[in-house]
């Protein structure tokens, strides 16, 4: 399959799709698919930060910094718009820097999703937010075809179903793919159209079924599996990431299916049924329960908290999560690093020591 840039370019030129740059994390991608938009998520572009430092303080995380750098280096010229979900304070303000201060001549959309603890008003509001987003997009993209939306919602559910199958096999040790391969495939959903992502997942599922290597299982928690070197290192050590609690992976991709006939109702139902997440202000108890369930299902010996430096939503929960895990004899490792930096020798040593502890 073509590389990310080539693929995106082809989708625009050959299929006439509009391209939207999407900042992390939770957004109704089905609506964009239905409006002939290819959402291209911006998590960790492989860039050196040069220009963004003139706009952001040193204590802002590298997800935000790299996303802004991508724009400032002119690498978003081909995009037709941006979407900023309300994920954290830094992305909230970044949306305004891009929209109000940078003179970016592209439509910028904002998507606010209600925060937990949820009430009846949260559900009503989320539904209204979906429809409000459609109304704003229609001004740029033309009317939404409701049958397309229904189709795309079903397709989204199909993607989630296959992903769940993959995760279930991984939990049971019946997927022989390496950590690096597994996340390489899962993360292609950040830019592939579901028309291409679904066959890719099915192909991968068929090819990768088989016994996993026999080393210890761990869970990875955090925002995203970057720096990627940790995946390779764990593969080399024979450690299998049996499940994850990563914001850009299981927390938003393992969407439980909805039976609602109305596509907006289905999207609403799915949002509120998603796994607990810091970006939705899920309670600490919900997160503890979710993580313990994952540990139990996968028989994991440890949990690696792979933190993006300065990420407040994640860092606040870590002491409670590690405390509860340790009480139950589950080993924990906290790694706090910048994106796209090579894993230092010191960090690699810590991972190796962790491996020895859980082996």
């Amino acid at each position: 399959m073509a590389k990310r840039e080539e693929y995106i370019d082809k989708e625009k030129k050959e299929k006439g799709k509009k391209l939207f740059g999407i900042f992390p994390a939770q957004y109704p991608r089905e609506i964009l698919w239905a409006m002939n938009v290819l959402p291209v998520e911006i998590w960790d572009p492989p860039l050196e930060v040069i220009h963004a430092n003139a706009h952001l303080q040193p204590y802002i995380c590298s997800v935000v910094r790299l996303g802004l750098e991508l724009i400032l280096q002119g690498k978003c010229e081909g995009l037709d718009g941006f979407l900023f979900p309300h994920t954290c304070d830094s992305i909230q303000n970044l949306s305004s820097i891009v929209s109000d201060y940078l003179g970016v001549k592209k439509p910028c959309y904002f998507f606010y999703h209600p925060k937990s603890p949820y009430q009846d008003s949260s559900r009503v509001y989320y539904l209204e937010q979906l429809k409000g987003l459609v109304a704003r997009l229609e001004k740029q993209l033309g009317p939404l075809d409701s049958s397309q939306l229904k189709h795309r919602v079903q397709q989204g559910q199909e993607v989630a179903r296959v992903l769940k199958q993959l995760y279930d096999l991984r939990v049971q040790g019946e997927l022989e793919a390496s950590n690096a391969d597994f996340y390489r495939v899962v993360r292609r959903g950040e830019y592939l159209s579901p028309d291409d992502f679904l066959p890719l997942l099915e192909e991968f599922l068929a090819a990768a079924k088989g016994s996993a290597q026999g080393g210890p299982a761990v869970i990875m928690s955090g925002v995203l599996p970057n720096p990627k070197e940790i995946l390779t290192l764990l593969d080399e050590l024979g450690v299998r990431i049996a499940h994850d609690d990563l914001l850009n992976c299981s927390r938003r991709l393992l969407v439980p299916p909805s039976r609602a006939d109305d596509p907006f109702e289905a999207l609403t139902e799915s949002y509120f049924a998603m796994p607990p997440c810091t970006t939705k202000d899920s309670s600490v108890s919900e997160r503890v329960d979710d993580l313990l369930a994952k540990v139990e299902q996968s028989n994991a010996k440890g949990v690696i908290f792979y933190m993006v430096k300065f990420c407040e939503p994640e860092l606040f929960d870590v002491p409670q999560l590690t405390g509860e895990l340790r009480k139950r004899g589950v080993a924990t490792l906290l790694i706090d690093c910048e994106l796209n930096q090579n894993l230092s020798g010191q960090l690699a040593t810590r991972v190796e020591a962790f491996f020895e502890m859980i082996s």
Partner: protein, 437 residues
């Protein structure tokens, strides 16, 4: 038990503490104050402010068991809680107090010892440090029965209060205020009104009191009047010379944050306003030789307030406006006793930190013009990302569009360990040169 605690609480509130404080005032050895020639005479209202805040904190010791206790974020619509007679405690205000008393860093270290990253907000770390150690300069904090947070000032308070909910095993109510990216829509207002209405049964259960609409309206009236009076207090600094400095205002802010909706806050600001108006009439300035007028952006650097105040005053520079102090005066005019829920939604969701950066720039532009501001000092606070992200662009725009010079101080609100004396001195010297040129 409740009856005894309640009697004790009311006795201490109305008789015991006022008597104790009068006694303490009389017996206090007064050290002769060193008069600094840079400053005008001190505000006499400051004594009353100290009394009010000391009484508030002392009273907290008697609140547990006598009144339902809520820990509240500074931007939450406390008016609703007042209708249920909650004793309210403000961890952010307490964090500022710890910062000002220079014990912030050691309390942060307690939280860090429990695994909380040094990159997290220092108010939160201080508060968690207090929860884990029981240490506080005010003696003792009341255990909460309820936590009440709003994300209109930041998402951080919600992460922090989730930890508190887990620690104290008490309910957390969140007032979720959609960010104003372009405009607040009717659906946003309906969502917020819905949340406020949904809170009532929870508050009734925790407080054991029925919702009293009349009392709620009275509280809203008091909160609105106090905030409008606070706005008038700040507006006195439009006068030349300004009768107080923003560094004074950082202190006088405490009642509008912590006691909003109670008669004591309104009464206090009326006293303060009278004093300031009198100084304006007499031409008494906060500093003796006001040559330049400045604006402050962001929360105070609490452990450096006095030091910075002296440094600027020595050069005839007075801070006459701040986006921070203005926050409790800016949107409160939306409050309407006839439409309490809708008006609370508007007043609390349109605050500076829940608004887009264009709004922030326009506000600063207005303050620059109305207060005759010559320069801006921007505190880039590690703890406060919604306040700090965008400041570099604001600095550039203020210079480009209004020709207002500014300086950025990289620091923190309450954790002095991240303050670099050398870097700050160098930056300020360059700023002073630019201002004096």
């Amino acid at each position: 038990m409740y009856l005894i605690k309640n009697l004790q609480y009311h006795f201490m509130k109305d008789l015991g503490l006022p008597a104790l404080m009068r006694f303490s005032q009389r017996t206090k050895k007064r050290r002769p104050k060193k008069l600094d020639t840079c400053f005008g005479p001190p505000l006499t209202s400051t004594g009353r402010l100290k009394e009010i805040m000391t009484r508030h904190y002392l009273l907290s010791r008697y609140a547990e068991g006598a009144r339902p206790v809520a820990w509240v974020t500074s931007g939450a619509p406390v008016e609703l809680l007042r209708a249920f007679e909650f004793y309210t405690f403000y961890p952010e205000n307490h964090g500022a107090l710890c910062g000002a008393q220079k014990v912030g860093s050691e309390l942060c270290e307690v939280a860090e010892g429990k695994g909380y990253s040094q990159d997290l907000c220092s108010y939160a770390r201080i508060d968690l440090g207090v929860c884990f150690s029981g240490r506080t300069p005010v003696g003792k904090l009341p255990k909460p029965d309820l936590l009440f947070a709003s994300n209109n000032i930041c998402q951080t308070v919600v992460y922090w209060y989730k930890v508190l909910a887990y620690h104290w095993k008490v309910p957390l109510i969140l007032f979720d205020t959609p960010y104003n990216f372009k405009d607040i829509a009717d659906s946003d207002i309906s969502y917020m009104v819905g949340q406020l209405e949904e809170m009532i049964p929870v508050l009734e259960e925790v407080s054991g009191k029925e919702f009293n609409y009349q009392r709620f309206q009275d509280v809203i009236r008091l909160a609105k009047e106090a905030s409008l009076t606070w706005g008038e207090v700040l507006a006195t600094m439009k006068a030349r010379p300004a009768p107080m400095t923003i560094f004074d205002a950082f202190g006088h802010l405490a009642p509008i944050v912590s006691l909003r909706g109670l008669p004591v806050a309104l009464n206090y600001y009326r006293v303060l306003l009278n004093e300031l108006n009198d100084r304006v009439k007499k031409g008494i300035g906060a500093i003796t030789d006001e040559r330049k007028r400045l604006m402050w952006d962001n929360i105070a650097i609490w452990y450096k307030v006095r030091d910075l105040s002296n440094r600027f005053a020595e050069r005839g520079m007075n801070f006459v406006a701040a986006t921070y102090t203005n926050a409790w005066a800016e949107t409160i005019s939306y409050l309407d006793i006839n439409h309490p829920f809708e008006s609370l939604a508007k007043a609390y969701s349109l605050v500076i930190l829940n608004n887009n950066l264009n709004h922030r720039f326009e506000l600063m532009e207005r303050l620059v013009k109305e207060y005759g501001v010559d320069g801006l000092v921007i505190h880039s606070a590690r703890s406060c990302k919604p306040y700090s992200v965008g400041q570099y662009d604001i600095k550039r725009l203020l210079m480009d569009r209004l020709g207002v010079p500014s300086v950025v101080i990289e620091a923190d609100i309450a954790d002095s360990r991240v303050f670099s004396e050398e870097q700050t001195r160098t930056r300020l010297e360059a700023f002073f040169e630019a201002m004096e040129a």
